[in-house]
């Protein structure tokens, strides 16, 4: 695999008239990485994909794809090596699935198009629907055709803009498995999604965008960066003197009640604190129901970071 990142963006900015769509966004995506791009509607995710896919030009800043700088003349060279699956499948509704794919195989100048179309259809489990007219397909099936279309050119970088939007859970799972398979083949995937569990499950790193970049990193690192680790303790009955139980325990930085007979203990190291907390509870005669680490989801991180009132985090 060649050296250098698959994607780089340096202070990428895009304005549409007075409206600032993407503001000063910088990041790098390594080759073979699955990179999640999260953000609310209108955050600039699709605009970023379009800039990196050479569909629209940045107002300022620079970017490169597979080491090729995005310029006025490099579009064709870049588009030969990447594929974009837009949010809207945009199929030719009067044409069959196969005819749609034939058209795109020729646009990519795919060698042996017939075999490649067969493989792509097999990957998205649509071989038996190849002759169906696209206008008659359900939204989920159209989405799968669009995915097959994006795979035709065997891209080195695949931009997936909300690939599971409108899919039922089983179909979404198939897409997830497909993305996993592509990752194993070394394809770099740039995934924009609203589904945070999807990003958490699939992505090596995520970036959270709300016009400007709010944060970037591994999902667990973002959690640690934003939320202090804590233990959640639940007892059968409220403790008579919680302060006496929790004060001074190794690794425990304090405590506060979180409802009746439930306590949250900020800790420096949950694995070190949990045994001593359990022993202290038992020694105090408490009926221990649960002692566990508090789990902040990526959703918590996301909600915290897309809050308009917060300044963007340096990344």
């Amino acid at each position: 695999m060649p050296d250098g990142p698959a994607l780089t963006a340096q202070r990428l900015t895009k304005r549409f008239g007075e409206r600032l769509a993407v503001d000063d966004v910088s990041f790098e995506v390594a080759r073979g990485e699955v990179f999640g791009f999260l953000g609310p509607n209108g955050a600039g995710k699709t605009t970023t994909v379009r800039m990196l896919g050479t569909l629209i030009a940045p107002t300022s800043g620079s970017a490169s794809v597979l080491g090729i700088p995005i310029t006025r003349t490099s579009g064709v060279e870049i588009r030969q090596r990447v594929a974009v699956m837009p949010e809207v499948p945009g199929l030719y509704a009067r044409l069959s699935v196969r005819e749609n794919l034939e058209c795109f195989a020729d646009l990519y100048e795919t060698p042996d198009p017939k075999a490649r179309i067969g493989q792509a259809l097999e990957l998205v489990h649509l071989s038996d629907r190849a002759n169906d007219v696209c206008g008659g397909l359900s939204k989920g099936l159209r989405q799968r055709v669009a995915l097959a279309r994006a795979l035709l050119s065997d891209p080195e970088v695949l931009f997936l803009d909300e690939p599971t939007a409108g899919l039922d859970p089983a179909a979404a799972l198939e897409v997830h498995q497909l993305i996993d398979g592509l990752r194993k083949q070394g394809v770099t995937i740039f995934l924009t999604t609203h589904r945070l569990e999807e990003a958490e499950r699939l992505c090596d790193r995520v970036a959270i965008l709300n016009t400007s970049l709010r944060s970037i990193g591994k999902p667990e690192a973002l959690r640690d960066q934003l939320f202090k680790r804590s233990l959640v303790v639940r007892t059968a009955a409220p403790l008579a003197d919680p302060d006496a139980v929790f004060r001074g325990l190794p690794g425990v930085d304090g405590w506060h009640a979180d409802g009746v007979a439930s306590y949250v203990l900020p800790v420096t190291d949950a694995s070190m604190a949990a045994p001593s907390v359990t022993r202290a509870l038992v020694a105090a005669g408490a009926g221990v129901l649960a002692v566990g680490e508090s789990q902040h989801s990526l959703e918590d991180v996301y909600l915290e970071l897309v809050d308009e009132s917060r300044p963007a985090a340096a990344s």
Binding site: V76, G90, R94, L95
Partner: protein
Amino acid sequence: MNHSWRRISAITRKELREYVRNRPVLVAVAIFPLIFLIQPVVLVLKLPTEVAVQLSQRHLLLYMLAVPILAPGILGGYSVAGERQQESLEPALTTPIRSDEFLLGKAIAAVVPSVVIAYLVFSLFMGFVLLFAPPGVGPGLLQPGDIAAQAILTPLLAAAATWISVAVSTRMSDTRVAQQLSLLGCMPLVVVTSLVAFDVIPIQDTPLVPVAVLLLVADVVGWRLVVPLFNRERLITGSR
């Protein structure tokens, strides 16, 4: 810069497949030639033999050149606006196809059926005249020079009309509006051919070849002029 004929023909083939399955477009493309066929057929049947000499001095046949102008008006008008309406433009533009290739593919797909229709209508008209016109009218109407002009100028005029309509289509997002404005944009060409047909613009002494060359140059220039109008960013984002 080399063009990829595989990419161009992919667009052309796709367009032709779509036209064949798009009933409103098919009906619209069929109606205009029929109108242009019915009226002269009725007229020819009513012509007395005595006008044959007069007919040989006029170029009424060139009236039929309006057919290859109006058909591309409908097809070319649909070309880009139709893609925008069904949201299929963005996926196509994510491929390596260049704007000039994309537009050339679209234009060929509009010109080919238009020329076929025009030749068909013209052949039907000629056949009708030869078979059913009063004696003397046929030879008077079907002058070799006019037939040659019809044969040579038909594809060139179709291409010119196509570029006008594709240019209009790049600026529109609604196919019907695009088609109507395209037809309007092609009207000056219809006016010119009609004025020639009715001898308001005399062409008796104008050789055909320079006219054809001029039109060919205009077609190539038209293609190059339309390419900058095809602004990918505006077409995808709808920005001004």
